[in-house]
Subunit: 341 residues, 2 copies
DNA sequence: TTGAAAGCGCTAACAG
DNA sequence: CTGTTAGCGCTTTCAA
């Protein structure tokens, strides 16, 4: 609370205070059409002293334009998504568009609800993580008639268009890199994946590429919830007790890989001589660790940037041709934990 | 893109498809007022098959109610804020209200812009980080006539009400705890603080409490940007080269403290015997480190929860009495790096 | 360069 | 229980 006047200011108030028609006030406030310098100043003055804040609800209804872009992601706690957001915001800041975030917690039904909620504000575009959605979600997106960019993943069929990396390929490439260094007895650790399709696809690609060389994962371990660092530690300990012969540990994300690194160092294990490790994501956060953990860049910021550019371009020119799948190329960073000397 | 029909569906379409008046359709879709079971079913059926998504823009304009809560925070990359968000979302999910996030990047002018932008959607309430705002921002918030909760900090005068902790007191308490363990030659590391008022207040409280015991910080170091872990490491190294006699390092956040820990361990320094360390925030993330770093809980989730509850309560009952300042109590966690045995 | 009229799609308020 | 009427605050369109 604050002001005693319960009624927010309207264009009419500014109109009356400045002695200029509502229409002209509207023009001034939106920088549209020609308005004489004098009138312009008078309006601006009045708006400022009154403290007028335009009502976008009314504006949007009248103009049938809403400069919002719905961005729907699984979580904000996973460092990946704030970085994607940063990419998106960076681009949209130079346009009229504004991102609005919705979080799904990796739950398809929640995604559906959030989507419904956001679409009911009639945004100019949608950026949504992943290619897997409920039927209803897909139907809504199709019916919305606005540009839809599915991000992060390109292994599948986009509703409209997609910007991301192939996680299957990422898994395969990591597998090849590991084998190439001569590692053979490989363990895998990751999240419980029923709903994290990208982690699942990486895993599939990984095992597939191993299989091609006649190698099978020796053992695996999954977690959910808790501190990723601590979980990485625990799982690593458990796994090594069970399978002391392991010579490589592949982690589905960098945080658990960091935990694993801690555990291995504690145990005095030679990295990468006795055991090599690798994670996924390329999070900058890990830079200060005792070893630079091998990882693979997920192109997070770039995905955000590209997705936002696509939306902005389509809003500008709805009839432009569209590229259905934009696949970026993640790079392996070998760090100090994958290269056997 | 998707559908060929450029015109989104309206209530009228559902009305026609179901043979029920727009008004009744509206009632069904909002679960308001009594509608016979039969009509209800017919409407729902029609809405579903058509794939109707209500237009909240129009709804909000007509009803003069917007179930949005603007949440304005400095950054999403600082783990603290996603956790606050989680607290907020948790509470708002049980209400009609929905959080909408705006990010300021710690810049007052950007905060002003974001605020203006968000207020123009006429939200039902505002949750904004910090007590320091531009004059214009304060004026806007006061004039908005909606509940405003300033979060994270209670050292100052809230516009409407505040939920947070006293960072000054937090700094003081950490100083006392450190002195009590017999540490005397203390170094400080943190972000460059011109715009991070909470870090600044902690620092002030810290030095103040030291001063009261006749102790002064031996040396200090500030950083900005980059990987916090790596920066913590670097600064620690630099600082120890400069002042080898230090016996305690106080870091303004847990990530740089973790980096410092890495460096100290690397150097084979006895923690907490030779040098003790402490950070701030209580981020769960650190659980798997080789030592549990001493820290102080910033009550992040709780702040989010409480702030959302306040907004929800005020939206329910605008005339309820308000508690201006809700100060939570952070607890020191000693971990393994502050207790001298 | 300015103004007047007519809605945007929905809901409050009131009748029936 | 259902329908009718009259806007919400702004912008589009057209006229002056």
């Amino acid at each position: 609370m604050a002001s005693d006047d319960p009624r927010p200011l309207t264009l009419r108030d500014v109109s009356e205070a400045s002695g200029v028609s509502e229409m002209t006030v509207s023009r001034v406030l939106r920088n549209r059409g020609d308005v004489s310098h004098a009138t312009r100043e008078r309006v601006l003055e009045a708006a400022k002293t009154l403290g007028y804040v335009p009502n976008k609800i009314a504006g949007a209804l009248a103009s049938q334009r809403v400069n919002l872009v719905a961005v729907i992601i699984p979580s904000l706690r996973n460092m990946v998504f704030p970085e994607v957001m940063a990419g998106i915001s960076g681009v949209l800041e130079d346009t009229e568009l504004q991102p609005v975030v919705g979080v799904t917690d990796y739950m398809p039904e929640k995604e559906e609800r959030v989507l419904y909620e956001m679409l009911s504000w009639r945004p100019s575009g949608v950026i949504v993580a992943g290619l897997e959605h409920t039927e209803a979600s897909i139907a809504m997106l199709k019916a919305s008639g606005i540009p839809v960019v599915e991000i992060m993943d390109t292994d599948g069929k986009p509703i409209d268009c997609a910007v991301g990396i192939s996680h299957r390929r990422a898994g395969r490439e990591m597998a090849r890199a590991i084998l190439k260094q001569g590692y053979q007895r490989i363990g895998f650790m990751g999240t419980k994946m029923p709903l994290d399709h990208r982690a699942r696809k990486r895993f599939e690609g990984f095992t597939e590429a191993l299989a091609k060389e006649g190698v099978e994962i020796v053992t695996q371990e999954f977690y959910s919830g808790g501190s990723a660092l601590a979980k990485g530690r625990e799982m690593t300990r458990t796994m090594l007790e069970r399978e002391p012969e392991l010579d490589f540990l592949y982690y589905s994300n960098d945080m658990i890989a960091a935990g694993g690194l801690m555990e291995l160092l504690d145990q005095g294990i030679d990295i990468p001589g006795q055991i090599g490790i690798a994670g996924f994501n390329g999070v900058e956060l890990l830079d200060g660790l005792p070893r630079q953990v091998a990882t693979m860049d997920a192109c997070r910021t770039e995905i955000g940037t590209k997705a936002a550019q696509v939306i902005a371009a389509r809003v500008e020119n709805p009839d432009a041709e569209i590229e259905r799948i934009m696949e970026l190329t993640p790079r392996i960073s070998y760090g100090d934990t994958l290269k056997r000397r």
